[in-house]
């Protein structure tokens, strides 16, 4: 059971959150301008690193805010948490 620090509500158990996949994958501003391959890239292709991974979570059972987390996919250590819309922090 991960302990995730919601930027607003503080530390809560993982069951209060919904997972939202990789962070910083913006919806293309003009989907019609994309080739099929580019659109498929947006739809279906995500990173799967062994190590720090920037991902989105929503505090679904709490304040319902979306935010970003940098989680180590091997140790599950949460390295950073920041509200949606802020740039990805640099993790050494």
């Amino acid at each position: 059971m991960l302990l995730i620090a919601c930027p607003w509500c503080g530390e809560r158990d993982e069951v209060e959150f919904h997972y939202g996949g990789q962070a910083h994958v913006a919806y293309p501003s003009d989907p019609e301008a994309l080739s099929d391959a580019e659109w498929a890239q947006y739809l279906f292709v995500r990173d799967n690193p062994k190590g720090p991974f920037a991902e989105r979570w929503s505090h679904a059972a709490g304040c319902r805010r979306w935010f970003n987390v940098v989680r180590h996919t091997v140790t599950h250590e949460i390295l950073a948490v920041h509200p949606a819309g802020r740039p990805k922090p640099v993790i050494a």
Binding site: W8, C9, G10, R12, D13, V15, A61, G62, C63, R65
Partner: protein
């Protein structure tokens, strides 16, 4: 019969129940208004003026204003809880503060009912199904939280240090939550 007499609360048949150091009852029909607006803006200031108290900006805290409790639900969201029947007046007063701004006020008084759990064993009862740290060092009167009790979403509001808690729960889940609380209250070793 007035139209109010036609109302039924989800737990209308739940008698006030005593356990070992703990008490449970339903408080039906509380006024509940869901308010969305930008914190720190003009509307927020005007709302504070008409309600006589500022909307709390510290997450998961409550401010009192007369018989209203203003609960923080999100960075731009509050639940204003008041006595039965206060909705039209309160809504009217708040609406006068909103024009010209991106704001939203919805009467959700019928969306949830309220369970009051109190007594020295109340915290232990909650701790059987709530992962939140409710120790007085972490959760005190004046704090609220949206969280899970058993598997049910609730707005938890601590009123005093007895402790007395309110659990605001959506009507469809109220029976299950009450059953769960009554079961948890049947433990003979809640205090001591």
């Amino acid at each position: 019969m007035t139209v109010d007499g036609l109302r039924r609360s989800p737990l209308g048949d739940l008698p006030e129940t005593l356990g070992h150091g703990v008490r449970l009852r339903e408080i039906p029909f509380l006024t509940q208004l869901n308010l969305r607006l930008a914190p720190g803006g003009g509307a927020a200031a005007r709302v504070a003026e008409v309600l006589g108290a500022a909307l709390p900006t510290e997450p998961n805290t409550v401010t009192d204003s007369g018989d209203l409790r203003l609960l923080w639900l999100g960075p731009d969201e509050w639940l204003i809880v008041g006595p039965d029947g206060a909705a039209p007046d309160t809504e009217g007063r708040i609406r006068t503060a909103l024009p010209g701004e991106h704001a939203c006020l919805v009467d959700v008084s019928a969306n949830r009912t309220t369970l009051e759990l109190s007594g020295p064993g109340a915290r232990t009862v909650l701790e059987k199904g709530c992962a939140l740290d409710l120790h007085p060092r972490a959760f005190t009167p004046g704090r609220c939280a949206q969280t899970l009790v058993s598997k049910v979403n609730v707005v938890l509001d601590q009123l005093d240090a007895e402790p007395r808690y309110r659990l605001l729960v959506r009507g469809s889940f109220a029976r299950y939550l009450a059953d769960w609380l009554l079961d948890a209250m049947s433990d003979t070793a809640l205090i001591g």
